[in-house]
């Protein structure tokens, strides 16, 4: 399994030069990894159906218990069928769609997405799943934003990214809570012994938020229709077969463990039914072929959410069947939409019509796919829908409400599916549709296996039933349900059959009455407040966040080093400062040793000189003199080190002081000669005095407290002992630096490198901005610039 994922990563990189050189033919290379995945699945499937999950685990960060744990079970297998099977067809289809173009980035993102999606469904570790989850988000951003010169495409790609990432982050939080309460991040481990309690309920809400955002459930469904700016092969894959199913998949994955948590069913079923109804309702009125399909997908995702999240055997059975049925049908319909769009130049249903006579092959494929979507008998969609109705046919009033929702949603599905097929293919050949040549087999070819799947698996449901049952058998049979229920073409007479007949009749009726029904819809839509519009809501949230960000930036990024220094100083004063004061007032002062003022006369003299120089620094206004006085302070401290018999410290201090002095002088050449010229206001100076003085007192106090609050014997003797024997360094300071605390030294060296890169960028940036137009005056006001701080570190 890991090898398959690596293969995807390698091909994602390799496909770039190929597509750049050979054009869209390079997509054939992109078809190789999903082909390998499909072949591998075919090889493993018998074992999986016999209940033997395929597992694989590689230690990742053993210290943190992170591992790349992969597991193929029946649910994952159903997803892999879609991910690998449709992924392969999408790559072949993309070759026709992008003919004459060289979309290297899109090809790479497509392969990367396929790999990420494969990883997502195979992951058996919450954190690993999260990583793949976000990888699909990022690659889908690149795929939706394929046309990166188009502002609308970028904006909508961003909408998809923001919505799904917000959900993803919430989900991560939920995962962490789940993992910590369960004591393991292994999904199979959590499902085997699910944790309980209030924290878990909260975590589940967060996880469901992530799943709903990814699978476009109400009210997070806005991004999916917007994402239709993506190239059609991408839509067929991401927005029909793969990515949008990820949320459904996650809910299904966790359902065995948490479906009985009180909050789970109401949330999942409500969101699912609402999504089903809203998606179908909006799909009825779309005139853009792809937007119609997008809302249809939203609606079907709601259906899947209900089935796979419900937690009963029959519903799960129907869910897996519908997952496959919908993936096959919807990918095929997107392929049709792309072909029609590509050949006629429009996907507006009002401009299309009569294509059936031009391209009968394409029309036939469309009819099969749409019929499966609508649940017409003898197709896979029919069998799935029959089982879905059966799942809710025996329960209480709650189930009845859900069942009613399912029926109404399916009536919508029948109506818009009919409209889609008839508007495009029936009727007279209209203007732009006349450009359509005979069936374009480059486009239609990949639809054939999909439509054949819908048809053959609808007639012979055994493979689907075997896969679905292997998954569904871990769920309890709901009261009144048939423990031996199968996904079948013919269930005999009963409520489900009656409901199916009713659905089809009403759906056709709604199609025939589409004009009056449409005006009713428009009137209802107009009566609803605009606040209910999710796109409106998304924009409002975005605007609010931007406004907040701007306000925060303007407030704290004043562009003036003195203000920054004041803020930083004040923060240090407030946080560690108040802690120190609180501790001292709280009685900790009693435990401190009495500090010794000085050792001998030389120390007292040097100390006094240092103090005098420090006072002078605060009073002098000529910058060069200030710098020299600062240097004097530094050399004085070095002298104190010498007196305390610390030659290494003294040497380093002397050298640093010397070089800092030079750096200061170099910088001073660019600064005005006098400091604070003109004098700032008294108020500002007072603030500086308070902060700077407070900081001095605080640092001095901290040093004093640290030096006098020894509670344990010092490590000095130990260090001296091991320096010679273990580090082979008679110089204990060297032993500390390169051996005992060697890792610290390595870290500090890296910091030094980062600091100098910072200095370089500051210097070079200021060169760029002050040389030409000065948008704002250079903050050469007072004190140290950030540049100097870095240097004097």
């Amino acid at each position: 399994m890991l090898l398959l994922l690596i293969l995807h990563a390698v091909v994602a990189a390799a496909v770039v030069p190929v597509v750049r050189r050979r054009g869209a033919d390079g997509f054939l290379l992109a078809a190789v990894p999903p082909l390998a995945a499909a072949a591998w699945l075919a090889w493993q499937l018998p074992g999986v159906l016999a209940g033997r999950d395929v597992t694989e685990a590689v230690a990742w960060v053993p210290g943190w218990g992170l591992e790349v744990a992969l597991r193929l079970d029946a649910l994952a297998a159903a997803m892999v069928v879609l991910v690998a099977g449709v992924g392969m067809l999408v790559a072949v289809y993309a070759r026709a769609y992008f003919a004459g173009d060289r979309p290297a980035r899109t090809a790479a993102a497509l392969v990367a997405f396929t790999g990420a999606m494969l990883g997502l469904v195979l992951a058996d570790d919450l954190l690993l799943l999260y990583v793949f989850w976000e990888l699909t988000t990022v690659s889908s951003f690149l795929l939706i934003g394929h046309d990166d010169t188009e502002a609308g495409a970028r904006r909508k790609a961003t909408q998809a990214l923001l919505t799904t990432t917000a959900g993803g982050l919430a989900m991560l939080l939920g995962f962490v809570v789940l993992g910590e309460t369960a004591g393991t991040y292994s999904i199979s481990g959590i499902v085997a012994s699910p944790p309980g309690g209030g924290a878990v309920a909260g975590a589940l809400v967060l996880v469901l938020f992530g799943a709903f955002a990814k699978s476009a459930q109400v009210p997070f469904h806005g991004w999916l229709p917007a994402a239709m700016v993506a190239p059609t092969p991408v839509s067929a894959y991401l927005h029909a077969a793969a990515m949008v199913n990820a949320g459904i998949y996650l809910v299904a994955r966790l359902a065995p463990a948490f479906a009985e948590v009180p909050l789970w069913q109401p949330v999942v079923l409500t969101a699912g039914v609402l999504t089903l109804l809203l998606g179908g309702w909006r799909a009825l009125r779309q005139t853009d072929l792809k937007r119609l399909l997008a809302f249809s997908t939203v609606s079907q995702l709601g259906f899947l959410m209900v089935l796979l999240g419900e937690g009963g055997r029959t519903a799960a059975l129907a869910g897996v069947a519908l997952l496959l049925a919908h993936g096959l049908a919807k990918a095929g319909l997107f392929f049709v939409a792309g072909a029609v769009d590509h050949e006629t130049g429009t996907r507006d249903l009002r401009e299309l019509g009569g294509l059936g006579r031009r391209a009968p092959g394409l029309a036939a494929l469309t009819v099969v796919s749409a019929a499966s979507l609508a649940g017409v008998p003898a197709l896979l969609g029919w069998a799935a829908k029959e089982s879905a109705y059966e799942a809710f046919a025996h329960g209480g009033p709650g189930d009845a409400v859900v069942l009613a929702g399912l029926v109404v949603g399916s009536v919508f599905t029948v109506a818009y599916s009919s409209r889609l097929v008839l508007a495009v293919f029936a009727g007279p050949l209209s203007g732009s549709a006349a450009r359509m040549p005979a069936t374009p087999w480059g486009f239609a070819g990949p639809i054939v296996p999909l439509a054949a799947g819908s048809l053959l698996l609808g007639l012979w449901t055994v493979p689907v039933d075997a896969l679905a049952a292997t998954w569904a058998d871990r769920f309890p049979v709901r009261p009144g349900g048939d423990p031996e229920h199968h996904v079948e073409l013919w269930h005999g007479f009963g409520l489900p059959l009656a409901l199916s007949a009713l659905t089809l009749t009403l759906g056709v009726g709604l199609y025939l009455a589409r004009r009056p029904a449409g005006s009713v819809q428009d009137r209802i839509g107009a009566a609803l407040p605009a606040a209910l519009d999710v796109d409106h809501g998304y924009e409002a949230v975005l605007t609010a966040v931007r406004r907040l960000a701007r306000r925060v930036t303007v407030t704290i990024q004043a562009g003036s080093p003195p203000v920054y220094l004041l803020l930083i100083g004040a923060t240090v004063l407030v946080l560690p400062g108040s802690a120190l004061v609180a501790a001292l007032l709280g009685g900790s002062a009693a435990g401190l040793a009495t500090p010794v003022p000085w050792n001998g006369l030389p120390e007292a003299v040097v100390g006094a000189l240092v103090l005098a120089a420090a006072v002078a620094v605060a009073l002098i206004r000529r910058r060069l003199a200030i710098v020299l006085m600062l240097g004097f302070v530094g050399y004085g401290v070095a002298g104190l080190f010498v007196l305390r018999l610390a030659p290494d410290l003294a040497l380093t201090q002397l050298l640093v002081e010397t070089l800092t002095l030079v750096a200061f002088v170099l910088v001073l050449r660019r600064l005005p000669e006098m400091h604070d010229d003109p004098r700032p206001s008294t108020r500002r100076r007072a603030a500086r005095v308070v902060v700077a003085g407070g900081l001095g007192v605080l640092v001095g106090g901290l040093g004093l407290v640290a030096a006098t609050s020894r509670t344990r014997p010092g490590v000095g003797a130990t260090v001296l002992a091991v320096a010679e024997s273990e580090a082979h360094a008679p110089n204990a300071v060297a032993a500390i630096l390169v051996d005992i605390r060697g890792l610290d030294t390595v870290g500090e060296m890296s910091v030094l490198l980062v600091a100098i890169v910072g200095v370089a960028s500051l210097v070079l940036v200021s060169r760029r901005t002050t040389g030409g137009v000065a948008e704002r005056p250079p903050p050469a006001d007072e004190g140290m610039s950030p540049m100097e701080q870095e240097v004097s570190r």
Binding site: R669, P672, H728, G742, R767, P777
Partner: protein, 174 residues
């Protein structure tokens, strides 16, 4: 007639030299630089090698080497700095960090934890007993990095930060 000493005196005291009559030139400083530059560099190397046993170490050594370059910069300006240090300081820093990391990670090759040092002692002819620990390499890396940092600061603040390439003197900075 033209001995080596005279040759030098005729040419210049510094590597890059100065334009004749250039303002701000200090002959004593140039001579001092001429005399001290290599000595200081030698001292810096000594500090690195002795650091394990006595006052010194890679950091101090690097700073001392930095003062040597600082001296040549003060005496001869950016051109002189470029002449005595003709590489990209970034290269030196990168190599230094690499040496530091490689020394630390080298212990992995022997199955030891990160940064474990090895100690070798041998009695060589003439030199007598010689011992070396691998952490000297760590010091060498630090030395290279710190030297590079000092030269880079000189280059950045001295060359790019110099008023000559900045707005003309009439234009105030505030």
């Amino acid at each position: 007639m033209t001995g080596p000493g005279r040759q030098v005196a005729e040419d210049r005291w510094l590597l890059a030299g100065r334009e004749a009559g250039e303002a701000g030139r200090s002959l004593p400083l140039e001579i001092a630089t001429r005399l001290l530059f290599r000595t200081i560099l030698l001292l810096s190397l000594y500090l690195v090698l002795v650091g394990h046993y006595d006052t010194g170490g890679g950091f101090a050594g690097g700073l001392v080497a930095g003062t040597a370059f600082t001296l040549s910069y003060i005496a001869g300006g950016p051109r002189e700095l470029r002449a005595v240090f003709p590489f990209d300081p970034g290269l030196l820093m990168g190599v230094g960090l690499l040496v530091v990391l490689a020394t630390g990670a080298g212990a992995w090759l022997f199955g030891e934890p990160l940064l474990t040092s090895a100690y070798l002692a041998a009695t060589l002819p003439l030199l007598g007993e010689v011992s070396v620990t691998t952490s000297v390499l760590l010091d060498v890396g630090i030395y290279l990095l710190v030297t590079g940092v000092v030269v880079d600061v000189l280059r950045l603040l001295g060359v790019y930060g110099a008023p000559e390439v900045e707005p003309p003197p009439g234009q105030e900075l505030r």
